[in-house]
């Protein structure tokens, strides 16, 4: 019983102390790591501009082996105010000052003693991350074997789970197929491009040390072996080579067309030869409906030939007009600045993007990946190739200046509610009928613009309260747009 009891007591004690020990250990660990974190924080904030933790000299000397060279107390004093020490004639301080090009180190009087302790501890205990030993060739960017590519594809799409299994797979965020909707995560081809570029991203590094908080958050718990990354990179090289696959739309109209065609053929054949169906009304009905539907389809398709209403292509950067024009309320003409006086509205140049993105370095949803593309373009000198959505044929002349500058037409009248579009979609069909209808209905700036002063006869009409449309002033003449 005693035994039992003591056992029980011990068990209880153990049960009670164990968490305590764990908590204590935890506290101890966290305080050390906290100290290290605080030290790192201070270093990054105050020192890293001029000093490195290695031997390398920036403005000031490198810190490797500093503990052997300098006394801790001296260091504290020097950090707080090096200028005073130099002034006071401290031998070492003067020597350091002279050795480093007589550039005085700024004072850091705001640092407390514990701050200094933690900083010095951080500097002294800093060990450079050892180069990770990898079993694969991490520089390889092309020329993979077929089975490596296949394995990569399976890993990417989650057919084979990762060794250190998680529920995540790549394809659920990084799309393989281009779709007409905005997914802020980089697609597979984006990744492939970013990785394959000279000085592009290092897959092995970014997967172990995410570059942005957003990325760290979504990749949390994801641990890939080097071989797995290698295989995925093999697959990405393949994706990069083949380019994006477009989602195939189901050819419903074509099937309907063929089906009705066959049905009509059957009905005709039955009427002439087989005569299986007694009621002629069925044949007649089939043929009339069939011809009707065929006619409608042909006319509709014919009219839409060469028109691209609702065209919404993927862009090289996941640029969202909703974010820029909608949420941030940036004026359209801030970026499309020449619309009011030039023929084109103007695709903003990358230096214009940089006006804001010098400061705004990460997006709420897209993280750094997309914005980095602007930086890469600016640095590499390779311009961004946007996909053009609105395009009029060459024989139709259209001037933005005429409509935006002179006519005071709102952008949205032709382009739709761009401020609500993530991905730009062609709002109007840009057909001639659409142009002409608008010219028939839209009033010109007849009374306000002095240009129209010479139109004397029409001024009388305007005075009589008549609406002066573009058409009234010859706005539907052929030669207004075709020359």
């Amino acid at each position: 019983m005693h035994l039992q009891a003591s056992y029980k007591q011990k068990l209880i004690a153990l049960k009670l102390t164990a968490p305590l020990i764990l908590v204590m250990a935890g506290l101890l660990y966290s305080s050390v790591s906290q100290a290290q974190n605080r030290g790192k924080e201070i270093f990054d904030k105050n020192c890293s501009i001029c000093h490195k933790l290695t031997e390398e000299k920036l403005v000031g000397p490198g810190f490797k082996g500093i503990a052997d060279r300098r006394d801790k107390k001296w260091m504290k004093k020097f950090i707080l105010s090096s200028t005073e020490m130099v002034k006071s004639g401290d031998k070492i301080a003067v020597q350091v000052f002279n050795e480093n090009g007589k550039i005085p180190m700024p004072d850091h009087k705001s640092l407390t003693d514990s701050d200094l302790d933690q900083l010095i501890t951080y500097i002294e205990t800093y060990k450079p991350a050892e180069a990770k030993k990898v079993s694969v060739d991490i520089t390889k960017k092309e020329g993979f074997w077929r089975d490596e590519i296949l394995r990569g594809e399976r890993l990417f799409s989650g057919v084979i789970p990762f060794e250190k299994g998680t529920t995540l797979n790549c394809v659920s965020c990084h799309a393989l197929i281009a779709t007409d909707s905005l997914n802020f995560n980089p697609s597979a081809i984006d990744l492939a491009k970013a990785w394959q570029e000279p000085n592009g991203i290092n897959l092995y590094q970014v997967l172990s040390e995410p570059t942005s908080t957003k990325m760290a958050e979504v990749h949390k718990g994801l641990q890939l072996s080097d071989k797995e990354i290698y295989d995925i990179s093999a697959f990405l090289s393949d994706v990069g080579k083949k380019g994006m696959v477009w989602e195939k739309t189901f050819p419903a109209r074509l099937l309907l067309f063929i089906f009705l065609g066959l049905l009509m053929a059957w009905a005709l054949a039955d009427i002439i030869w087989f005569r299986k169906v007694k009621y002629r009304i069925i044949h007649v009905f089939i043929i009339i409906v069939g011809l009707g539907v065929h006619g409608t389809l042909v006319i509709q398709e014919g009219i839409n030939l060469g028109r691209t209403k609702d065209y919404m292509p993927d862009q090289p950067i996941k640029f969202s007009h909703k974010v820029h024009a909608g949420q941030n309320k940036i004026d359209c003409q801030y970026c499309h600045s020449i619309a009011s006086y030039s023929k084109s509205a103007g695709f903003p140049s990358a230096n214009l993007c940089m006006n804001c993105h010098k400061v705004v370095k990460a997006g709420m949803r897209s993280g750094k990946f997309e914005i980095n593309k602007i930086y890469r373009a600016v640095e590499s000198g390779k311009p961004i190739e946007w996909v053009r959505v609105h395009k009029l044929p060459d024989h139709a002349f259209f001037s933005h200046a005429q409509h935006v500058g002179a006519g005071k037409v709102k952008c949205q009248d032709c382009h739709g509610a761009v401020e609500n579009m993530d991905l730009i979609k062609q709002f109007s069909d840009l057909s001639m009928g659409w142009c002409v209808n608008c010219h028939r209905q839209t009033e010109v700036q007849f009374k306000t613009n002095k240009y129209y002063e010479s139109f004397k006869a029409i001024h009388d009409e305007a005075k009589a309260g008549k609406k002066i449309t573009a058409e009234r002033l010859g706005g539907i003449d052929c030669s207004k747009c075709h020359y």
Binding site: G346, S349, Q402
Partner: protein
């Protein structure tokens, strides 16, 4: 009986008009016959039928299933401040090719120079240009002929390798005391001359030889003899009442045709205030542009001109108390002319284009006696654009053959092609250790040079110019060099071991030399503002020269000694090609010569009388002398017993357009005394019996003897302002229509053309071609009347075939308010706009050509082929580089559609929009069509007829105004002002 006007000799003689290019057999068969034959020749079978069906089904299937291609839009990374996509920038610059000077504005759209206009600030061009200047933008994109990289020994090399080689050879030549020859065209750039001087001081054995292919050597030398000044004075034709020209085509090719045309046109303008015009008398052998515009024209042999000039001198000398010299009898009675000249002392000009010092000395004496120096002829703003002395070049070629010259550098010259003794030059070049050519495109000279150091195109270059004393202009690059070329001046600086770049050099030169001569800007601003304006003009300084007549007696003696031969051959420059420098430019090649209307060839122009004697017709091959075989062209007005042939053709290594077209006549020039003579006596002319087709637009679109050209004389006009135009009133009376009159409530565009100002120079033709993306179609198509020009220069003759009166008439779409073409279009592709434009919607056009048939003015053109992106038309529109010149605001037309002049509707729209954006009414004269802007005579005025105060309405209400074929009530929007000739007697009614 009405006076008869005719376009060709066939028309005058009422013979059936045939086009040389047309095959006779075709004419005899109808089109239906041809189609039947075509069908018969091909077995039509079920198999063929299925093939066609299959093809159409396949096309339909492809057309419906194809996705639109993905278009990318690539914005700048760093947008340059001054560049706005979709808007053109204009940069002031300078055109000088060694012959013609023009202050220009270059229109640059999205980084590409696409059009050249005149710089309105330039006192020389005043915003006008010549046809060659208009065409020069195309040569920038001549990817077939331009050098892509430096060449050494025929192989492409690097600039470093080239510099090492050239520097070594130059130093070697300099140390061994052998001379270095720098052969250049006339250089008017002060900075370039300074660079050459630096080069000379580095290499003291350098000799700078100025070589003009067609030179004014005699004028320079004569002025040196009589005024001790080796310069060419400026001629103020606008201040002259009586102008006499002996073979100087000052409206076409002589010295400064653009400025002279403007001045001459000013002297010919008539309106309520200015009621007199000058009188022009021309003595020449071939019909030139100046001759065609003359009030009196005397066709004479080249050798007879000397005796006429001498007789004229004697008449004037006798009257003014000078010494007459013994002279042979003048073939033309010049007593009346002498009287007129004497009556207009100080207000007359006698010019002479003959390259003979003795003749020029006598001409100078005449002008001196008439007191023209200082009033109409002025040395104070002397011309710098011709400096070449013929003897210099001859000496150089001789020295070269003697082996005295080690290094030869050619800059902007092509003597292997255009030096008369080319063979001697080529032999001599073999003796030189190094020959360098700065040519930017292939030519005959660069082909035999050991080194080609290609120069930039002038639109890629920095430079400056001093075309006249005290008148300066700057040239700036409008595009970065397309190929790996380097400016010639930079090469010279580099070889002189200078580290300065030429653009910095020019800037420094200007800051040092010109900044202090003005007070308008600070020396810091001076450069930027001057560069923006393109010009810098100093006030005229007065310089008087005293006339020395020591040389006169000898010259007169020489003039009296000219021997006239039975047949004489003379050479001339054409408006389009000049000395052959721009022959590889397809626009220039296809520009019909204003007189002969022939393009794509040179020919031997002979008089109708001579043709009759020889029994030849146009198209027969002639054997001229011993070794010249040429196609004959019967030219009304050609002096009897003379043959005229144009320079500029017969290239062998100048590019795909120029090579093998026509024959080179430069080798037939002769050195006589100190001057290269442009006319020679020939022993015999024989018909060979062979035939050759010339592509001529002469007989295209004949107007069937209607009352197209209206003219009068000054005397008649003074009496009656509507003289010669009486029918206009009659036609106006009948302008009654059953239909409701159309009202044009906003604008109503119109154009007025002053036939008295128009000289026929054809700058408008090329200006229009550049603006409106008009394709080049080639000789074969031109011969089939398929030339595409939207504006054509019609030329009519009247009266005597031996010496006819000539009329020029630019014809573009008349934009009829009651247009016959509109009514017949089955698809309404051509209809009337609310601004009075006869508009043409290419995408609606189905190519029935009914409109072409129904147009009384024959201004519509049909696209028989796809001319762009078609290698069968290997000119400029079939290469990416060649298409860079296209105007993005004008549609490139597809095969099977009709096109025509649009009144430059893109320019109308552009300026209207500008007015709207600036919230102001449109100014009168703000809109300039391409033809109007190019015209050096100011003969074309465009405007709004609804603007009663506008300049256009002034002209439309002038009594000289008439419309073409107005009696058929087409109500054209283009009006013409009658031609007024300053002839004393009334024009004979034939």
């Amino acid at each position: 009986m009405e006076k008869k006007y005719w376009k060709s000799l066939e028309e005058q003689a009422n013979l059936p008009v045939t086009n040389p290019g047309q095959k006779d057999e075709d004419a005899s068969r109808s089109l239906l016959d041809l189609i039947d034959e075509e069908i018969d020749s091909k077995p039509s079978s079920r198999r063929n039928f299925l093939k066609f069906c299959g093809f159409s089904f396949a096309t339909a299937a492809i057309a419906t299933s194809c996705k639109n291609p993905i278009n990318t839009a690539i914005p700048y990374l760093n947008k340059p401040e001054e560049v706005t996509p979709g808007m053109a920038n204009h940069y002031a610059s300078t055109y000088f090719d060694g012959q013609d000077y023009n202050g220009i504005l270059v229109k640059v759209r999205d980084g590409r120079p696409i059009k050249i206009e005149g710089n309105e600030l330039s006192s020389i061009s005043k915003g006008a240009t010549s046809a060659r200047v208009q065409g020069s933008v195309l040569s920038l994109y001549d990817d077939g002929a331009r050098f892509k990289a430096p060449k050494m020994g025929g192989k492409e090399t690097t600039w470093n390798a080239l510099d090492t080689e050239v520097s070594a050879k130059l130093t070697a030549a300099n140390t061994s005391g052998k001379s270095i020859a720098l052969v250049t065209s006339t250089i008017i750039s002060p900075s370039t001359l300074s660079v050459i001087n630096e080069f000379k001081s580095k290499f003291p054995t350098t000799k700078h030889i100025t070589y003009d292919a067609v030179s004014s050597s005699a004028v320079l030398e004569a002025n040196n003899l009589t005024f001790s000044s080796q310069t060419i004075p400026d001629y103020y034709f606008d201040k002259a009442d009586v102008i006499v020209s002996f073979g100087a085509d000052f409206l076409g090719t002589w010295l400064m045709p653009v400025e002279f045309t403007r001045r001459f046109a000013a002297s010919r303008r008539l309106n309520a205030e200015k009621r007199t015009i000058s009188q022009l008398t021309v003595f020449e052998s071939g019909m030139s542009l100046t001759g065609a515009n003359a009030d009196y024209r005397h066709p004479v042999k080249p050798s007879q001109q000397a005796s006429i000039i001498l007789s004229l001198y004697n008449e004037i000398a006798t009257a003014t108390g000078g010494t007459p010299y013994s002279a042979p009898a003048s073939p033309v009675n010049i007593t009346k002319l002498a009287k007129k000249l004497l009556g207009a002392k100080g207000k007359s000009i006698v010019v002479c284009g003959i390259n003979d010092t003795a003749i020029q000395v006598v001409v100078n004496a005449i002008n001196q006696m008439l007191q023209n120096y200082g009033s109409t002829i002025d040395f104070s703003s002397s011309l710098n654009i011709r400096k070449g002395i013929d003897q210099e070049m001859t000496t150089f070629v001789n020295e070269l053959n003697e082996g005295k010259t080690a290094v030869v550098v050619f800059y902007n010259v092509n003597p292997v092609y255009n030096y008369f003794d080319s063979k001697l030059l080529v032999d001599g070049l073999k003796k030189a250790e190094l020959s360098v050519s700065f040519a930017n495109a292939i030519d005959e000279t660069s082909a035999i040079c050991t080194i080609v150091a290609p120069d930039h195109h002038f639109l890629e270059s920095w430079n400056d110019a001093e075309p006249k004393k005290g008148i300066f202009s700057l040239q700036q690059p409008t595009i970065r060099n397309i190929y790996w070329t380097r400016q010639a001046q930079d090469s010279l600086l580099k070889w002189s071991a200078s580290t300065v770049q030429y653009n910095a050099y020019v800037k420094q030169y200007w800051q040092q030399n010109f900044s202090s001569k003005q007070t308008e800007y600070t020396s810091l601003d001076f450069w930027n503002y001057t560069l923006q304006k393109g010009i810098f003009e100093l006030p005229l300084s007065t310089s008087q020269f005293t006339f020395a007549n020591q040389a006169l007696a000898d010259s007169a003696k020489k003039c009296a000694s000219f021997v006239t031969s039975e047949t004489e051959l003379s050479f001339y420059e054409t408006i389009a090609l000049g000395n052959g420098m721009h022959t590889n430019n397809p626009w220039m090649m296809e520009m019909p010569d204003p007189i002969s209307k022939v393009c794509w060839d040179n020919f031997a122009a002979i008089s109708p009388k001579m043709a009759e004697k020889l029994g030849v017709v146009t198209g027969d091959l002639l054997k001229i002398g011993n070794d010249l075989e040429f196609v004959a062209f019967i030219q009304p007005g050609q002096a009897d017993g003379t043959i005229s042939i144009a320079y500029g053709y017969g290239h062998t290594k100048a590019g795909k357009v120029a090579d093998g077209v026509g024959v080179n006549v430069f080798p037939f020039m002769k050195m006589e005394g100190n001057n290269r003579k442009e006319s020679i006596a020939i022993a015999s002319v024989v018909k060979t019996g062979k035939k050759y087709n010339l592509a001529s637009t002469q007989t295209h679109y004949s107007m069937e003897g209607r009352d197209i050209v209206r003219e009068t004389t000054l005397a008649e006009w003074t009496e009656k302002p509507n003289a010669g135009n009486e029918m206009h009133e009659e036609a106006e009376k009948h302008n009654i229509s059953l239909y409701k009159e159309i009202k044009f409530e906003g604008h109503h565009w119109g154009m007025s053309i002053d036939l008295n100002a128009c000289t026929g120079c054809s700058a408008c033709v090329i200006g229009c071609q550049a603006e409106n993306n008009v394709p080049v179609v080639g000789k074969e198509q031109v011969a089939m009347t398929r030339i595409m020009h939207w504006i054509r220069m019609d030329r009519y003759y009247s009266e005597d075939t031996a010496n006819p009166s000539v009329y020029f008439q630019p014809i573009m779409c008349q934009q009829c308010d009651n247009a016959p073409c509109e009514n017949v279009c089955p698809v309404s592709a051509t209809n009337h706009s609310s601004e009075g434009l006869n508009q043409m919607a290419y995408n609606r056009c189905i190519g029935t050509k009914y409109c072409i048939n129904n147009c009384p003015y024959k201004v519509r053109r049909f696209n028989w082929f796809r001319y762009a992106t078609n290698d069968a038309f290997d000119y400029n529109m079939n290469s990416d580089m060649g298409r860079m010149v296209l105007n993005p605001d004008v549609t490139v037309r597809e095969r099977g559609v009709v096109e025509k002049c649009s009144f430059c509707v893109q320019r109308i729209q552009e300026k209207k929009l500008l007015a709207k954006l600036e919230n102001r009414p449109l100014a009168d004269g703000e809109i300039q069509t391409a033809c109007m802007q190019a015209c050096p005579a100011g003969a074309i005025i465009f405007g709004d007829t609804n603007n009663q105060q506008g300049k256009l309405m002034d002209l439309f209400t002038d009594q000289r105004n008439y419309n073409l074929i107005e009696e058929i009530h087409t109500l054209p929007s283009v009006g013409y002002l009658t031609k007024v000739r300053n002839r004393d007697k009334e024009i004979k009614k034939v």
